[in-house]
């Protein structure tokens, strides 16, 4: 079974994986747009210096800051922290909302990481992003401008925002669990015997590099298209025309050169 799958299915799985990852990247814009609006609303409501959302990345077992808002917020986007470290890691692992004042007193929680973001806060509230399946990340709010620390009501309000974020992310969860999706698809085709190690290897081989191969020209293209997708609809027609020309050009270039030689004669 495994041999047959290895030769035929690997290509197929890779093709499905490629399309699913492309689809995920094209759609991520909408999920991120929701998350961004949530952190922006959070900053406005709390009159905070910054708010950000970190999501759990199972591939690296780290929490990655995906969106941020506020005058002091942007430095954190793209940074990641291990789940065993800091306030964010603690809130993610325990699912407990937590606020700290005088963060500077705690070397591990505050200073080291905060300095990387160019902004060292005085106070922090962090609440888990939770849906019925578990915790997927953390919403963090830094420094209220009007008050020295966060109140119990602040924690509850932040939790409501976090709940909204969790719902938005939950909607795109299927694409995030690509490997699991492929695995269950193949398992349903070939039956229980598929639950063995070679299948795992197969799925891993088919999907490896898809998620993190950011250097590849294909992903540059996909990411740009995702960005264009958020542009003014009136610009989309022009972009589609330009891409059409480029695609035609690419196809012509890919044809065997023999045909041009024939024409030359």
């Amino acid at each position: 079974m495994t041999d047959r799958l290895s030769s035929e299915a690997l290509e197929l799985l890779r093709a499905i994986g490629l399309r699913a990852e492309a689809a995920r990247r094209l759609r991520i814009g909408s999920a991120e747009a929701v998350l961004r609006s949530i952190v922006e609303a959070t900053v406005a409501l709390f009159r905070a210096e910054a708010a950000s959302i970190a999501l759990y990345d199972p591939a690296t077992d780290k929490l990655v800051f995906r969106v941020a808002a506020g005058a002091q917020g942007q430095g954190v986007v793209g940074l990641s922290v291990p789940t065993s470290q800091g306030l964010v890691g603690y809130v993610y692992t325990t699912g407990q909302a937590l606020a700290l004042a005088d963060v500077l007193k705690d070397k591990r929680f505050g200073r080291q990481f905060a300095e990387k973001t160019q902004y060292v806060p005085r106070s922090i509230v962090a609440v888990p992003l939770t849906d019925d399946h578990g915790t997927m990340g953390v919403l963090e709010v830094l420094d209220k401008r009007d008050e020295a620390s966060f109140s119990l009501r602040d924690i509850e309000l932040a939790s409501v925002f976090a709940r909204q974020a969790a719902v938005a992310i939950g909607a795109s969860r299927v694409e995030r669990d690509l490997s699991e999706l492929l695995r269950s698809a193949v398992a349903s085709l070939v039956g229980d015997e598929a639950a063995d190690a070679p299948l795992d290897e197969l799925v891993t081989a088919a999907t490896s590099g898809l998620a993190r191969d950011d250097e590849s020209q294909l992903w540059v293209l996909v990411d740009r298209i995702a960005r264009i997708g958020r542009a003014d609809p009136s610009q989309l027609a022009l972009v589609a025309d330009l891409l059409g020309v480029a695609a035609e050009h690419a196809e012509r270039a890919a044809r065997p050169r023999r045909s041009s030689r024939i024409r030359a004669r």
Binding site: T83, Y90, G95, A97, V103, V125, D131
Partner: protein, 284 residues
Amino acid sequence: MSDDEDLPAWSEPFTSDRRTGLQRLPPLRRIDRDWAWGGSDGTGVTVAIVDSGIEPGHPAIEGKVRQSVVVALDDEGEPRVRDDPDGLDVVGHGTACAAIIHSLAPGAEFLSVRVLGPDNRGKGVVFAEGLDWAIEHGASVVNLSLSSKSEALYGTFHELADAAYFANVLLVSAANNVPGPSYPSLFSSVVSVASHDVADPWTLYYNPSPPVEFGAYGLDVDVAWKDGERIVATGNSFAAPHVAGLAALIRSKHPGATPFEVKTILAAIADNPRPRGRRPPRPS
């Protein structure tokens, strides 16, 4: 059914010759704080802290950690408990909880059960294994300032909550701020705690509408933290140890009090506003 032998074993404690052994609490209105824990400092009570560990040398703990263990997954993915002789708090949070309890019940001793660590896999089963260990190793009160959101572990935690109750172990758990699954804090035998904002560790409120039955001090609490430090922190996870501390005092003075009796005592001594001059209606 006149013969005692015909009764099922469950009815045995209620037979006429044994009913005198059922004497329990005085009427609730006679229970006050002096009766509940006057003269007690928690001596003889073991409190387990299932959390990020306890820093044994922290000045706020005063050497009260009796044993430290750590739970982690082994190579086969099974949770295993092993000794952690030097003790370690990877965050500071477990030390904070233990120090709050120590400030209320300085005679109580601690079991540190560390369930948080660098490896995040299977955190729910690791937590469950840690709780199981605490129940089986002499804890009288277990402080749980963490919970599992996993629906898949509902049954496991339900069994553990029952095991604790039947073993006369009181579980005190921090409530969550958001609705949704949170185990074991949503089970009825567990004392589920949220925060109030009265800056007094002894102020306690009873909420007659479960699942969150008690409110304790949880806003801007000056707590012990990692590396011998202190920090100001807010959250239900700092409210729960205040109730665990009071429970330790009660169980030290009344070792036979069951988990539900401890709950009742806590409700009786709570600072809820009382209607003045009104007497409860008498049955006609």
